[in-house]
Amino acid sequence: GSKIAFFGALTGGNAQLGINIRDGAKLAVDQYNKANADCKVELVEKDSAGDPAQASGLATSVVQDAKILGVVGPAFSGESKVANPIMSKEGVVIITPSATNPALADQGDKTFHRALGNDASQGPGLALYMKDVMKVQKTFVVDDASEYGKGLADQVKKTLGSVVTANAVVKEQQTDFGALVTQINSSGADSIFWGGYYREAAPFLKQYRDAGGKAKFVAGDGVKDQAFVDGAGAANAEGAILTCPCVPPEKAGGTFAADYKAAVGRDAGTYSAEAFDAANILLAGIKAGNSTREKLETFVDGYTGQGVTTSFKFQENGEIDPSAVAIWAYKVAGGKIVADQEAPKS
């Protein structure tokens, strides 16, 4: 039979973000295979560790396996930027359930699709939430210089405007934030926006709170995982606001939340549901007999349907309809990430 691939981090410091997505896609494939025992589809896992530098090699290996018709992923924006052109040139259908950098749609990659909203809506939504709901006065913006982190931070800065007092850049895999903590403390900020992933955010927040820092902590989807709360310590993370262009899994349609829990053994995580939808679109195409990359691509381009998260109809550039996008704000409360409210739209 045919194969579809998952492309994203399964190891490394941000692995949990990738694992949630993989499990969502896997659930879809397993359900499909159970229903179509005669014509199974294999899910190939390409572990990028979230590292764009590895993406080019992995993309090449996807391309070279002619059985792989489509990809769920790449999970992160950085790796997408590298891998998409390579895969798209060879016609591999790409549906990302999570990479949110807006520029990905403008690279001219014909087979690119995004099953969720991007940071051009998340950023402003998030910033409005900070201004209107949280009423922040002085924000210190931190980013990790990644495609995603910097992109989101730039969006946020644009909307926050003069509320931003200072900004700083952290390194990937940095664990010691002594200098940054000093800077934030002396800047007198009442809130911090973190553009990056949880790998760095968790130790930072711990050290910041240990050093007596009181500012509110806000971050995007890259931080929205239980691993963040555990890493920072529940007490330190308490009250942190995390946004995401994704619906809370428990609000997902159908029996998804229950199925997932039964299959994987834990609650669905960030983007599990989006991945489930993305995989299902590809599977639907395969089921309809589209056994080559070109055919599948035509199928996906013309696809319309309702997933568990939202309704899908891809535009020319691969984005879904803006009206189908929802930005949610979540809050860390009692050591858990719970949905707070939908963020205001600009």
Binding site: T11, G12, G13, A15, A145, A168, V169, V170, K171, Q173, T175, D176, G178, A179, L180, T182, Q183, S186, R199, A202, P203, K206, Q207, R209, D210, A211, G212, D230, G231, A232, G233, A234, A235
Partner: protein
């Protein structure tokens, strides 16, 4: 560039820099001792430090102080720290000794040239680092916040916390002890003799192997102690923490004059402070660049470091 920030926060940057520098200095000692005696960059020393950070978490977690646990009273905290220093010191010292036994001694017995030692050292470093990486699944490990920093006093507008005082003072004390040991005791003199001319040292009756074991253990113990201070300060560790700290500590050792114990202290403190200023002025992301640029500049004017080499042979 943000000199205003530097001006406004000069003292507080200095204090945080010194704290960081004290840890560098303790780790630098291990490099300096081994380098002084064997002319070998002990790449695996960064992993010796890393092991210490993990042993600390294991000991604490074993006693019921896992991530998120609340700190016991002052004496409890001091007890936990003391226990960790003993355990991490032993583990790091032991690791250093094993590295010496497995990776270096066979080469010494065969008179291998120094470049080969370097490779073996890299091998040991990679092996340890990957081993811990595999065991911990490459996930970071958190610790309880044992010491809530409390401001003890303020100098020139900079708050100095109990944690900072503790770290700097304990580092200074350990360094002073080691310095006295090397410069004032007979065994210490033996160490210097082996450093300068191993063959002739044997002719004086110095047991070379014992001296070498000793320096590895001492360096390892200092790294172990440093790892506890690091844990208390940073509160999280991963299998890769050693790499950057190791490079910084080695830089500190060279800055002060490698093979020179007081140089390691001076180099460590200076490095910590200057890179902190640098981070303030140019931004965090340029911190390492500031550190290395300073190293190059210092070496240009003092090619053997600030205080010169002392354990090692003065070059004729």
């Amino acid at each position: 560039m943000n000199f205003e920030f530097l001006g406004d926060n000069f003292m507080s940057l200095t204090v945080t820099g010194l704290t960081q520098g004290a840890i560098y200095a303790l780790v630098a000692l291990g490099y300096t001792l081994v380098y002084g005696v064997l002319r070998l960059i002990n790449f695996a020393h960064s992993e010796v430090f890393m092991i210490g950070t993990f042993v600390t978490t294991i000991v604490w977690a074993g006693l019921g102080f896992g991530v998120g646990a609340s700190a016991p009273g002052t004496f409890g905290v001091l007890g936990l720290i003391a226990l960790a220093v003993v355990a991490a010191g032993a583990a790091s010292g032991g690791t250093a000794l094993i590295v010496e036994r497995v990776a270096y001694r066979p080469l010494r017995k065969r008179n291998a040239p120094s470049l080969i030692f370097l490779i073996s050292a890299i091998g040991a470093s990679v092996a340890l680092f990957e081993l811990v990486g595999a065991i911990t699944d490459r996930q970071p490990r958190g610790m309880p916040s044992l010491v809530q920093p409390k401001v003890q006093f303020t100098i020139f507008g900079a708050d100095v916390t109990n944690l900072q005082i503790g770290i700097i003072l304990s580092a200074l004390a350990m360094l002073a002890g080691l310095d006295i040991f090397i410069n004032r005791t007979r065994l210490g003199r033996g160490v210097r003799a082996v450093a300068q001319n191993p063959d002739v040292a044997a002719l004086m009756g110095v047991n070379k192997d014992r001296v070498i074991m000793l320096i590895f253990v001492l360096g390892g113990m200092m790294a172990g102690a440093a790892s506890v201070l690091y844990d208390v300060k940073v509160g999280i560790t991963t299998y890769s923490v050693g790499f950057l700290i190791g490079i910084k500590a080695f830089t500190a050792a060279v800055l002060g004059g490698i093979g020179n114990l007081r140089g390691a202290l001076l180099g460590g403190l200076l490095l910590g402070v200057v890179e902190n200023y640098g981070a303030g002025v140019f931004g965090n992301e340029w911190m390492d660049v500031v550190a290395f640029v300073m190293l190059v500049v210092v070496l240009l004017f003092r090619p053997t470091g600030l205080l010169g080499e002392s354990l090692g042979r003065a070059r004729a």
